[in-house]
């Protein structure tokens, strides 16, 4: 592998995809809510970087119209504007997520996703007035149908 291959573009793209993968990994593997939220943040950062890189070419200058720099040498300004917006949105969502996490922590006393899921299920079922579906810890109740009652049923084959 020659060093030429490791030009700036490649590194940057790898960084972007790497960030995204780390983010996805964070969401997928961890069970702790904070880690998941961080995973989202990383994923967004990677996506933003990718967007930024979409029109970047090596040696491009900032898209400010000054003498001597022709538009062709500039980096495309549009993605930069877009990324700005995306970042703002991302931050907003992150803040919302964190505030919700606080609420959840207060309500359930935990930030473990599995625990939260179970408690949520419990709450929904309680509200609906149905029993929780049997969980893996609790063996399902075996409903025994008396064999006789089936045989005695008056009906055909």
């Amino acid at each position: 592998m020659s060093m030429e291959f490791l030009d700036g573009n490649t590194i940057l793209y790898s960084a972007a995809f790497g960030l995204m993968l780390i983010g996805i990994g964070g969401i997928v593997i961890s069970n702790h809510l904070m880690r998941i939220i961080f995973g989202i943040a990383l994923l967004e950062a990677g996506a933003n970087l990718l967007l930024l890189l979409s029109t970047y070419h090596e040696g491009a200058s900032a898209p400010i119209i000054v003498d001597g720099i022709i538009p062709a040498m500039m980096a495309d300004p549009v993605p930069q504007a877009l990324v700005l917006t995306a970042i703002v949105i991302g931050v907003g969502i992150l803040a919302l997520a964190l505030s919700l996490a606080i609420r959840v922590q207060r309500a359930y006393g935990t930030l473990d996703m599995r625990e939260v899921r179970l408690r949520l299920e419990q709450e929904i079922c309680d509200e609906a007035g149905i029993e929780m579906p049997s969980s893996s810890e609790k063996p399902a109740e075996v409903i025994k149908t008396p064999v006789n009652s089936v045989v005695q049923q008056e009906s055909g084959s």
């Binding site: 969401i27 994923l43 967007l51 609420r103 949520l120 929904i124 609906a128």
Partner: protein
């Protein structure tokens, strides 16, 4: 033509002004939201009436097409914008807690929704989509129970994940074409996006926007959210908001992505959605989650419809979507009082006969009993599927039909409970008048559709035809060729 802008701006403005107005008069604050939406709807209707066969485009902010913010109004987009506005009006959230916050959130939802429907630019779509998502978080959480917070958070995780993927997809598109204006994309797509990168972008965006459209693998939030949110919010999300996400995917399919693989992906995910949703609904023991699962199945049918190439697919998906738009909110409104265990519904028809009758009507239409509109919508999906003559499409038909049988089974189990003569220990609460009236209005719409079947079908067909007319789109947004402007 600034009327179009008003459609978006008016609700947004009102939402921000609401808290200020509230200081002056709380009554005004309560009234102003619906009034604004009414006005918006009126504007939308007037635009619709002016529109005729020619779509219109507005460049907002003074820049021309590729750079400026493009609003594109054809009947297709306008239909959904109107649905968003009127839908929000009908399903105006009635929060027990902070009504002001709910009102402004609803206005925001209407504004962003209309924006989403009318945007002609991929990034604007993304922004509106994200805003709408945030607003819906607020709406779900506004019920204030711990369950609603938890489910919002879980929704947020999936949604955030999806949004990031969508953004990555947009980046891939921009990287390939250098533009995000849909008209421009439509011009360059055949040569620049008809490759692996384009396909990857499509998949990423599909997964991203699919979160709201209850696409199969990213719809895990659906049962939890609809079970914990208030029924009006569930109705809004399931009935209206999901259709807007569907609209984005339709637009992308029509204008940008023409890979055959894209259709296959849609088909497979649609089939999976139908199968998983309907099967899960079969065992659901509470009404809310049953409706949630069944709406996953319905959205799956729309994805299957989208996988039909050409005008027929859009037409079919549109028909199913519009049908679902009427039906699901009404059902969720009925579930407001009937939520919870189905077993508790024993004899509910005695206390609220109108609601029970309506539920029967809605169920019949949902499972597709002629001559109700649900049947014709389903027919529109299946007929072209069979002409395609491929095993997977046949399989899709089988899945749709089998799912309908399952639907008939579980929905009528509920109906049986409603009409059961054994009374339950807990007395049934009658429906709130507003809920019932809205549901009856929507149900009446379905009945009316039976009698106006032919004009309605023609209208939807023409809308679909307009939507699929790529050259008109390009012509309308930028009469001169944009080819040269692309870097």
């Amino acid at each position: 033509m600034n009327l179009l802008v008003l459609m978006i701006a008016l609700p947004l403005l009102a939402a921000f002004l609401l808290s200020i107005i509230d200081r002056a008069s709380s009554f005004a604050a309560r009234v102003i939201g619906p009034l604004v939406l009414l006005a918006t709807a009126a504007i939308g209707l007037s635009v619709w009436s002016q529109l005729g066969d020619a779509p219109q485009a507005v460049q907002w902010g003074g820049f021309q097409a590729p750079l400026g913010i493009t609003l594109y109004a054809d009947q297709f987009g306008l239909l959904f914008a109107l649905a968003m506005t009127i839908g929000t009006l009908l399903l105006w959230p009635r929060s027990t807690g902070n009504q002001l916050r709910s009102s402004s959130l609803a206005l925001l939802l209407a504004g962003t929704g209309s924006g989403l429907a009318l945007s002609g630019d991929l990034f604007n779509i993304y922004v509106f989509y994200e805003l709408m998502t945030v607003v819906s978080y607020g709406l779900i959480a506004s019920r204030g129970t711990s369950g609603s917070f938890a489910s919002t958070l879980r929704y947020l995780v999936i949604s955030g994940f999806g949004a990031a993927l969508a953004l990555a997809g947009i980046a891939l598109v921009y990287q390939a074409t250098g533009t995000l204006n849909l008209a421009q994309l439509a011009q360059v797509a055949p040569e620049k996006l008809n490759n692996l990168q384009g396909f990857a972008a499509f998949v990423l965006m599909l997964v991203g926007f699919g979160v709201k459209a209850e696409l199969f693998p990213v719809n895990m939030w659906v049962p939890e959210v609809y079970a914990t949110a208030s029924s009006r919010v569930s109705a809004l999300l399931a009935g209206v908001v999901s259709k807007l996400a569907l609209l984005i995917i339709m637009r992308l399919l029509i204008l940008v992505f023409h890979q055959p693989e894209a259709l296959t992906v849609l088909l497979v995910l649609g089939i999976l959605g139908v199968a998983t949703g309907e099967l899960a609904a079969w065992r659901a023991r509470d009404l809310n989650r049953m409706l949630a699962f069944s709406s996953i199945g319905q959205l799956g049918v729309m994805f299957i419809a989208l996988s039909i190439p050409g005008n027929a697919g859009i037409f079919a998906a549109l028909a199913v979507a519009v049908h679902h738009l009427f039906l699901k909110p009404a059902m969720f409104l009925l579930a407001a009082r009937w939520g919870g265990s189905i077993r508790r519904l024993c004899g509910a028809a005695k206390t609220s006969p109108v609601a029970a009758g309506l539920f029967v009507l809605l169920s019949l239409s949902l499972i597709g009993v002629p001559p109700l509109p649900g049947f014709w919508a389903k027919l529109l999906v299946i007929m072209p599927l069979l002409t395609l003559d491929q095993p997977l499409y046949y399989f899709a038909v089988f899945i749709i039909l089998a799912a309908a049988s399952l639907e008939a089974n579980y929905l009528f189990r509920v109906v049986m409970k409603l009409y059961d003569k054994q009374p339950t220990a807990v007395p049934h609460k009658a429906h709130a008048t507003a809920d019932l009236a809205t549901a009856v209005f929507l149900g009446g719409g379905l009945i009316a559709a039976v009698f106006m079947l032919v004009p309605l079908a023609d209208r939807l067909d023409s809308i679909a035809a307009q939507a699929t007319d790529v050259s008109t789109y390009i012509q309308t947004v930028a009469p001169q060729s944009l080819e040269g402007d692309v870097q």
